[in-house]
């Protein structure tokens, strides 16, 4: 797959000034956030990558800059190729342009990133929470959000946890 991907990578490197990296057979391109819409347009129309497999984000840590890494994963069903594109997002201004105009399934994927990470997407038609309740404070998948772990009841702390639990009695 690497050989067939070469002309595509060369084309994208020249057009968008991208860096290529590879780990265990997965090829990734790193570009800056303002070029993402035109890259998606080019991938879909000229290069034949018509399927946006997934869109996800990684929180690199509270003190790191850039804080988030957003990964777009494209697949070409005609040529049987896959390519990942990484974009850096900083913590102070976590916004990206939306790609819902190019790939329609980005609508919910971007809502999910807003809900779980707090990354805003400009131009999104309907940016609201998708998996958490509407009044949930915070963004769960960030590293500074707690897991919400509840202490298990063993025999030595059974009564004290029992008295704290809000049972519904009627």
């Amino acid at each position: 797959m690497q050989t067939e991907l070469e002309p595509v990578l060369q084309d994208l490197k020249d057009a968008f000034d991208a860096e290529v990296s590879e780990f265990r057979g997965d090829v990734r391109l790193q570009i800056s956030s303002d070029k993402i819409v035109s890259l998606c347009q080019k991938m879909r129309d000229e290069l034949g990558f018509t399927l946006l497999s997934t869109m996800t984000a990684v929180d690199l840590g509270i003190s790191k800059d850039p804080r988030f890494n957003v990964l777009y994963h494209f697949t070409s069903v005609t040529a049987n190729l896959s390519l990942g594109v990484l974009v850096d997002v900083s913590a102070t201004d976590p916004t990206l342009p939306t790609i819902t105009g190019v790939f329609k399934n980005a609508a919910w994927r971007e809502r999910e990133l807003w809900d779980l990470f707090g990354i805003k997407f400009e131009g999104h038609p309907d940016l609201r929470r998708i998996v958490m309740p509407d009044d949930w404070p915070g963004h769960p998948l960030r590293k500074d959000h707690p897991l919400g772990y509840e202490e298990p009841q063993f025999t030595f702390n059974y009564k004290e946890i029992d008295s704290r639990k809000p049972y519904a009695r009627e």
């Binding site: 958490m132 309740p133 897991l147 919400g148 772990y149 639990k165 049972y167 519904a168 009627e170």
Partner: protein, 164 residues
């Protein structure tokens, strides 16, 4: 009703009102269709032909809470779903029972995080807990029989109901 054997073929049966009431409640208890996640599949398998639940009176599952007696909470209850669960429980007419099926409904199960209510007894009062992830259909049927035992021991609380 042991009086028949003593008095022979009299054509009269005597018993207590409680026994008749409890007997009729257990023989036709209709569960509400409340399958949330994986336990729902085992609940459906328990309803299938192999482990038949209709021999215990649960011939059909009513999706409407107004027409059911028993709510089998089968699956994990997330924070977004908890108020919906409470509203459905409130819509059920008395007498009503709740079975917490599976580990996630009983105590939060494998998941110990922000998104799952750890035990559905924080939202509705539970009568029987069934362990398992997911519990086998036989375990569900055992839980239902335990619930029938519990119902058969209920007494009529006339004074409290009439006062209300």
């Amino acid at each position: 009703m042991g009086v028949e054997e003593k008095l022979g073929n009299l054509g009269v049966v005597t018993t207590t009102l409680e026994s008749v009431m409890n007997w009729s409640r257990t023989r036709a208890m209709w569960p509400m269709l409340f399958g949330l996640a994986c336990c729902a599949i085992e609940m459906m398998a328990a309803e299938g032909a192999h482990y038949d639940m209709s021999r215990f009176g649960m011939e059909l599952m009513r999706p409407s809470p107004r027409q059911s007696d028993l709510m089998i909470v089968a699956g994990r209850v997330s924070r977004k779903m908890a108020p919906v669960l409470r509203r459905l429980y409130d819509q059920m007419p008395d007498p009503k029972w709740v079975i917490a099926m599976g580990d996630c409904a009983s105590c939060g199960g494998v998941f110990n995080n922000y998104a799952i209510v750890p035990g559905v007894d924080e939202v509705v009062p539970v009568d029987v807990y069934i362990a398992g992830c997911p519990p086998r259909p036989e375990a569900l049927i055992h839980g239902i029989l335990v619930l029938y035992d519990k119902v058969n021991q209920q007494k009529i609380k006339l004074s409290a109901e009439m006062v209300r």
